[in-house]
Subunit: 367 residues, 4 copies
Amino acid sequence: MTHPLLDLAPLSAAHFAAIEDRVARLLDTRQDVVITQGEALLPLEGCIRGAARPGTTALNVITGPYGQTFGDWLRDCGATVVDLAVPFHTAVTAAQVEEAFAAHPEIDFVSLVHAEAATGNTNPVAEIGEVVRAHGALFMLDAVASVAAEPLLPDAWGVDLCVIGAQKAMGGPAGVSAVSVSERAWERIAANPEAPRRSYLSLLDWKQRWIDGGRKALLHAPAQLEMLALEACLERIESEGLDALMARHATAAAATRAGAVALGGGLEPYVYEAGDAAPVATTLRAPRGVDAAELVARSLAADPVLPLVTGGGALAKEMIRVNHYGPDATRGVVHASLAALGAAMGEAGLAVDLEGARRAVTQAWQA
Amino acid sequence: MTHPLLDLAPLSAAHFAAIEDRVARLLDTRQDVVITQGEALLPLEGCIRGAARPGTTALNVITGPYGQTFGDWLRDCGATVVDLAVPFHTAVTAAQVEEAFAAHPEIDFVSLVHAEAATGNTNPVAEIGEVVRAHGALFMLDAVASVAAEPLLPDAWGVDLCVIGAQKAMGGPAGVSAVSVSERAWERIAANPEAPRRSYLSLLDWKQRWIDGGRKALLHAPAQLEMLALEACLERIESEGLDALMARHATAAAATRAGAVALGGGLEPYVYEAGDAAPVATTLRAPRGVDAAELVARSLAADPVLPLVTGGGALAKEMIRVNHYGPDATRGVVHASLAALGAAMGEAGLAVDLEGARRAVTQAWQA
Amino acid sequence: MTHPLLDLAPLSAAHFAAIEDRVARLLDTRQDVVITQGEALLPLEGCIRGAARPGTTALNVITGPYGQTFGDWLRDCGATVVDLAVPFHTAVTAAQVEEAFAAHPEIDFVSLVHAEAATGNTNPVAEIGEVVRAHGALFMLDAVASVAAEPLLPDAWGVDLCVIGAQKAMGGPAGVSAVSVSERAWERIAANPEAPRRSYLSLLDWKQRWIDGGRKALLHAPAQLEMLALEACLERIESEGLDALMARHATAAAATRAGAVALGGGLEPYVYEAGDAAPVATTLRAPRGVDAAELVARSLAADPVLPLVTGGGALAKEMIRVNHYGPDATRGVVHASLAALGAAMGEAGLAVDLEGARRAVTQAWQA
Amino acid sequence: MTHPLLDLAPLSAAHFAAIEDRVARLLDTRQDVVITQGEALLPLEGCIRGAARPGTTALNVITGPYGQTFGDWLRDCGATVVDLAVPFHTAVTAAQVEEAFAAHPEIDFVSLVHAEAATGNTNPVAEIGEVVRAHGALFMLDAVASVAAEPLLPDAWGVDLCVIGAQKAMGGPAGVSAVSVSERAWERIAANPEAPRRSYLSLLDWKQRWIDGGRKALLHAPAQLEMLALEACLERIESEGLDALMARHATAAAATRAGAVALGGGLEPYVYEAGDAAPVATTLRAPRGVDAAELVARSLAADPVLPLVTGGGALAKEMIRVNHYGPDATRGVVHASLAALGAAMGEAGLAVDLEGARRAVTQAWQA
């Protein structure tokens, strides 16, 4: 019995390579791009375990929950970790990175998350990249939540390891991910005796057996359907235009922020400066004395498909997150999200200006 | 290059027949079931052009827009048409059908729409079927908007031609449809020299070349993907349980009606009696002096995926339709629809009780 | 429960129109293109029932089984039919068409099948079109088996109604099809009181309600998955290049013909002249005294996915058809088809030159 | 723009858990089943890195190429490895395993591949399991090439870690895989300080955060499409019946072996005893002096979709592998494979009995 997800002709190596090249074009990079056969956590872990070793000093910038994970991995590898933790309501600055290098000139690896969907901020990678490059450290960037939502230029910015996933602004699958790797990153990993080899975690296996072999034979059967979905979303992005897609995300972020401010009732943007706010998600601080989780639950009871969540862990009671990425980066979804939140706040006895919020959103979209 | 929608192994005749049998089980019918390769308008037209001819007297019950179409087709075929038009705010009764037979004992064909998504009413088919059968007329039922949303029993009710589509309560595809055909309907069609033969409109071709041939060879290549989607939705219905699915629709209708009444502001159920209201859609009369189209537009601006539409044609200014079928027959969607409508009414200066509406919906769901 | 064939966002009118435009580019036509929601028999029937009426004199060129069907439809419509039947082992010539016009100057409609998959021939449409146009008749072409396999230029050739399906050389779905309609064809149909209106068979409905309405609202829910598959195959054709795809079909036909001749054993091309042979299928005459059906059955027992069939109806005992379209238009499939046929012939006691057949195929592919 | 592989509603945790339960039913196991988000190499590596550590003594049974990989991983973990290498033309016996325990009573871990697609043998797991259990060692089984092709009963056989993939006999996707884990395996892994934690390689993460948390929250976004394809193939297996599917594979293996013997020309089964031969693939030794790779290349030139490959690495010149799993475990594919091989051998000047091979295959299928 025929089924559209079964019995497809196998994905050829040439087709796989063509999808890699399409990712490279999206990132405007001439570095090697490896499509990794798992969620983006796989290449992130592969990068750190590949590059870090005893003797490494790593600057780990923490602007959200993933920074914690990166630090754990770095310590697992025996690296000395300099944590640069930044309050979640802001971005890290190039100056802070510069200071870290001044205090620890031995830093030879920097890990950074570009945009944080979880906390709603985004970091100035271009400027930070300049600092990192000046000090000769290897620069790893987690761009899962920024790719296709805001400019991402690993070559121009000196990013050595740039990891992306398709599940946010790209509107694609989560089951495969990708990483671009600079020549010097390959050298660093190859020189690391502790780097994973003959392992599902190994980037080096892909370099030596796939890339250096002329991309003729895959290391193992790929996640074919996820690959085809990745190709389909790349095609859709090319068809909409990357600039148009990024503009749509920027507008959704501006509209959500403006609408939340106009709504009033004590709701406030979690990230102080609009310039530090991520284009994929807007985080809001719940009004004093009001439980964020309850507001979100009430909103979702009314419309369960709205992209509203609370902050994770300790932030659950105070942070409301409005996602607006991929197909949700539209005026209608932003309107509906704020209307639902506003209604929930009204029910909780807060005075809200629903009409003002609507006007602010509309205006942002017309700007 | 492999693509999940291309290069599937052809759908075999046996697989096609198995899907037909699965439709027959859904309808609890022992009649022949033909899956027609087009939208449900195709078998509806095929039934009427197959059964009607000069000399036919047809009782055409009009409870919504499709009745008009059926009447046109019947007249095209040279039939004498007795139109029994019923105001859209109610259902037809078996007594009215009985009266029509009394006035026109020569009636030998009856066409009826079971539930009307467009006008929000549903008709008592079991009772009407008893009348039709007593008079020996052929009975055609358009059950596109009732199948899987409320009981539908063509054999028990004496329906000779029962047409369904999967695109409403079944949550399936619109590109193929199905019709169950009684033995006497086949006889009537076969005896009609004007019935389509060797034609895309012909049911008789399927009888003679497909069914009578033992369902060994299809008449032409089928719409394979639509067939697979139909099979997938049948499977999903079996998994949820048809009773559970129908209950979900009944509750959605009751909740929408109750919520709209509680909302107030002059909004009223279009269909007077709850018992006459369709489980797939609730129609509402806009408050006096307020444009239904404007309320719907405002609501959709806030949340464009809500299943809200205006009435068709002349009803556009006065009728609001809340669809709640398939994946939309949920508490969350009903809540969101009424909240959006209520907000739009508030903006239009009407006094609405949003909290009351919410309570009414919640209560209906708990009943 | 999510399923890739269910719960897709509805296909928008704009998306539908964009697919129509892509079909128009494939046909290099500036005529209106309507994508019809059924197998290609639907628009073929729609064209004939739309254009023919009592008073029409139709020249019906019969080069295969579909000509018979077209003649039936034309007579159903009350047209006077001039049948021009051509032996299946050849093509019709423009001179024969010219003669028909000379004998019946009142001919105002011509129906022709471009390539016949069933009989393996193809007709010189460009030259015939010139004759038809000189006489001012309306020209309908069934191009289902030629589109994407050989040049098809409705505008340049003066074709008024050009019907295609995607299931052969295009490698796409069978559940939707398309027709390009010239301005004068629209006028003829609109002037025909018998043309289907308010009917699944009606092209005019699409003209008046879809095209003339600016392609804003579809007439009914489309066969969405088939539409998406059509789009996917158009994309794949653009990616391979239409010229490359046509060349692949031409080579497959030449190789099959040459290989069959080299195989010997009494096997002969059914179509006498290579120039009259269709690029999608090569028909062969079974050796004298040998049952074609048995040879095909033996071949398929060994390899059931080979694209081998017997001729239809009366031809079943003498004609073997090797299909080589879409994904089967490859050297490997041609090789395998001839090897299997040759083996079956060997088992039947015929002397065959398997190695010669292989060389001939290889050589054709290198030419 | 809608696309069937994009914008699906996210796979819920409950749906994910239901697929795990369906895998558990396939394996008739009451152990925990974890569906791992990558090719089967991921859980295989996860098992070994989870269970092995300095101090471990591992018996590594090598009956094909994967044994080498397992040994590498075990040594990476600091384990002492006792390699039990068995010639590829046979299976390992329980007695050999017993001897290894006698020589190394400290063995506390055993790794075994059930069936080897690459070398065409299969091992008597039930008997070996008895030995392993008697000695109290942990027993890991790679059942990727046996699941659904022959009986696989981890609970009855005392397998502690049973890894499967769907890409062979199951006819499903390769991008996700699964492992059943016994209580004592969990204990061993949890007690291993070197076991991967907070890692893509970690099984323990799934135990602690997914299973022990009541399977409420996934660790990360899953490979949704691969999961749906896995579900679809499980459904298809249930529909065909597991016993019927296994019987189909057994017959395909018997038929291929018998056909190859009947073909003659010096071709011989690579695995000496039929009882040691795997049901998913039959390996053959090329006739003396004939290059296996050339025979395979000639065969594929004629029919590129045949499931023929050469042996890997050093075996490329002498081993021909006929795969017959999933949709290829049919009489037609076996016939075609042997016919193509026979034709290639004939061209190479070997005397082959094509008709004898055909009879042998047919007979095996009728047995």
